[in-house]
């Protein structure tokens, strides 16, 4: 039987020459890569990396100057309940290897900025041969792609008169760091019972059942995930890191009589299941959400004419604003080839410039594992490129002092500060870990509220305070009268809430840091206090109002 199994003939003298040139480099890397960890996966990865590093070359072409192997072992559990009954239960486990091969040198290499590399499914059991086969095919493909990308890039660079001067890849010292493996650890039966009950509270709880017929959806879910990550590279880095995240949530929806869709979403996020909110707290949260949903249904629609003036954001609402407006812009992403910008985003040319009021400072400290006794989701020791995490002063007294960056340098930032982070199976990019906002003159909630009221009195009008956001729109928004009384309103949208308002409109910040743990693509934490803005536009959201259901819901049991 014929099969395509032709191997390249023994490479000639060119390969030998290359091997000799590369030898010193190989030698130094090897001295650090001999880790003492007895992990079958790491051993198999190292064995294959050694082989590929020594032998992988296409005759007449360049050898890789850098190879990285990453094995992501991802486990998850999710259960969903609707209307008081379990509707889905899913358990997932997947192992993928991601191979990155770089051709060229640290100065100019084959990387494209998209995050290069090849992904392969890896064995679920610890079969070293199967893992090495996956690495073998992924490395082969990644090498061929890198060769192609390198020549494409060199050709593209010919078109530009000037190009950026910073390296394509930063030189970092090798790191050896081994963390214990994590396993999913959650009482599934107990949590299933809780979400079933939580999703049925709209009908079963006597304190809210009077308006049960207005609830259109009621969904509760519990999610759990762990990621055990193995990373080695030809520079000698050996890393085994692990993270976990747990999340319980409730999602409720209704419609006001005029057809406006209304929703409440809540829950808790934690590093371990034991740190999730207790059942009494979860139950209370659902009841509160149901009550506020009903209050929203009955609340007046926000004024039809635009409002420009003070708005007080709770820490919860402020964290959403910061995640939306600030976060991306301090995570350094390289701009397109041939352009000379520093990064992408609003703060590309804001280095050393003021981006926040002078009384505000921001640090990102992934090493901060706990805040006020609570574990933080965005915490880590070593990033996903094998660089130890660093505390970074992002903004000091309002001025942008540093970007968060991984191993792809941008202008003025030649090395990583330990913020190269990757979602499972995905390439690493510059991402925040634990971003903490502080004020040099923090005010108590009472003082903040007084300042809001004094602004209202001064301007002789009502002002606004927002408690919770739903995306970029306010969800629980209060019209605050100068006498301090409050009226819940619905159907509002913010405008002119942008980077200019972050820079110039924040008048005061609270001493009540809110911890926003996000279990999105990557676990990240943002800690933001209440913020009082001087001038934000509040306007009526002009969305189409869909008809209410023609029939009432089916009768309850």
């Amino acid at each position: 039987m014929k099969n395509f199994r032709s191997l390249p003939s023994t490479p000639g003298s060119l390969l030998l020459l290359l091997a000799i040139i590369l030898l010193p480099h190989v030698g130094t890397a090897q001295s650090t890569s001999q880790s003492k960890v007895d992990d079958p996966m790491l051993k198999a990865m190292q064995a294959e990396l050694e082989r590929e590093k020594e032998q992988l070359v296409l005759p007449g072409m360049q050898r890789p100057y850098f190879i990285e192997y990453r094995l992501d072992d991802f486990s998850s559990f999710e259960a969903v309940a609707n209307y008081g009954a379990l509707t889905r239960e899913e358990e997932g486990r997947q192992r993928v290897v991601r191979v990155t091969v770089r051709i060229g040198d640290y100065k100019v290499d084959s990387s494209t900025g998209r995050g290069d590399g090849t992904v392969q499914l890896a064995p679920q059991d610890n079969d070293p041969t199967a893992l090495r086969y996956a690495l073998w095919t992924a490395t082969d493909e990644a090498y061929k792609n890198a060769l192609r990308d390198y020549s494409t890039k060199l050709a593209a660079l010919q078109q530009f008169q000037t190009s950026r001067s910073e390296d394509d890849f930063s030189r970092q010292t090798a790191t050896v760091h081994i963390e214990p493996l994590r396993k999913l650890d959650i009482d599934r039966k107990e949590w299933e019972k809780r979400i079933i009950e939580a999703s049925g509270l709209y009908a079963s709880a006597p304190e809210v059942s009077s308006f049960a017929s207005s609830i259109q959806y009621s969904t509760a879910n519990i999610r759990a995930m762990t990621l055990n990550r193995y990373l080695i590279n030809t520079e000698g880095t050996v890393l085994r890191s692990s993270l976990s995240g747990y999340n319980n949530a409730i999602s409720l929806g209704s419609q006001a009589d005029d057809g406006m869709r209304l929703a409440r979403d809540n829950g808790s996020v934690a590093v371990t299941a034991s740190e999730l909110e207790s059942w009494p707290a979860f139950r209370k949260q659902v009841i509160d959400d149901l009550k506020t949903l009903d209050a929203l249904r009955k609340a007046p629609v926000v004024d039809a004419e635009d409002y420009h003036g003070p708005v007080l954001f709770s820490g919860d609402a402020a964290a959403d604003v910061i995640n939306h407006l600030f976060l991306d812009n301090v995570e350094a992403d390289r701009p397109d080839l041939g352009t000379t910008a520093r990064t992408r985003g609003a703060y590309a040319s804001s280095y050393k410039a003021r981006v926040l009021p002078e009384f505000m400072s921001v640090v990102d400290n992934p090493l901060e594992a706990k805040f006020q006794g609570r574990s933080l989701l965005g915490s880590y020791q070593v990033d996903d490129e094998g660089v130890p995490a660093q505390k970074v002063d992002v903004v000091t007294n309002g001025r942008l002092e540093n970007y968060l960056i991984g191993r792809e340098p941008v202008k003025d930032f030649g090395i990583s500060n330990g913020h190269g982070r990757a979602a499972p199976g995905a390439p690493a990019h510059s991402r925040s870990g634990v971003l903490i906002f502080t004020s040099s003159h923090p005010l108590s909630p009472q003082e903040l509220n007084n300042q809001l009221l004094s602004m209202a009195k001064e301007q002789k009008r009502d002002v606004y305070a927002v408690e919770t956001m739903g995306g970029e729109a306010p969800r629980l928004l209060y019209l605050v009268h100068p006498d301090g009384s409050r009226q819940l309103v619905r159907g509002a949208a913010f405008d002119e809430l942008d980077n200019r308002s972050l820079r110039s409109e924040i008048r005061a910040a609270g001493n009540d840091p809110y911890v926003n743990d996000s279990l999105g693509v990557l676990p990240q934490t943002t800690i933001v206090p209440s913020l009082l803005f001087g001038d934000i536009e509040v306007k009526r959201a002009t969305e189409e109002q869909q008809k209410l259901p023609y029939y009432p819901p089916p009768p309850a049991k």
Binding site: S6, L7, Q55, P128, Y133, D140, Y143
Partner: protein
């Protein structure tokens, strides 16, 4: 037929089938093909050789196994089908041993192909598979004997020319390593 009537057929015959979440349409269940002109495998092979000789061809083709296939059924496109075989032999008229070939697929239009069946084998084989169409992918079965077709169109499959892996595969783990 599903409950969606077509010209000349006003009622379902219990073949409205669908994948989860799709609207049922008329689909295959157990499609059984039988023949009134059956011969033994040995005779069928002789008939193939005789037919090739008659047409002045050096060989006939024997399709032993296929991987998949598809047919275009939309009215805007030509009604054509393609079958991608896995194991195909050249059966020579001069008595040479059969030769395994690769990279050939069957193409044509159903009407033309199905009218050129000369004879069939005397035992039926079962095909269990998944069939995809307007109402999604559903499990189906087909039962049919071998068929000798006097004329069928084939074409070369698109051939990859990607370079094979540069390095040989990693060495298999020794028994010692496995026991750890």
């Amino acid at each position: 037929m599903s409950r969606l009537p077509i010209a000349g057929f006003s009622a379902s015959n219990g073949h409205g089938r669908a994948e989860t979440g799709r609207m049922p349409t008329g689909r295959q269940g157990n499609l059984i093909v039988s023949s009134s002109k059956t011969v033994s495998d040995k005779d069928l092979r002789q008939m193939l050789i005789a037919e090739a000789k008659r047409q002045g061809k050096p060989y006939g083709l024997y399709f032993e196994d296929i991987s998949s296939g598809f047919a275009v059924t939309s009215r805007r496109s030509p009604q054509a089908f393609q079958v991608i075989p896995l194991v195909v032999y050249r059966v020579f008229v001069d008595g040479r041993p059969d030769e395994l070939v690769r990279g050939v697929s069957i193409v044509g239009t159903p009407q033309a192909a199905l009218t050129r069946i000369v004879a069939t084998g005397n035992k039926q084989d079962v095909f269990n598979g998944i069939c995809g169409a307007e109402s999604g992918s559903i499990p189906v079965s087909a039962v049919a004997p071998a068929m000798l077709v006097s004329e069928i169109e084939t074409q070369r499959q698109a051939q990859g020319n990607a370079r094979p892996p540069i390095l040989p595969p990693p060495p298999a783990a020794t028994g010692k390593e496995n026991k750890r």
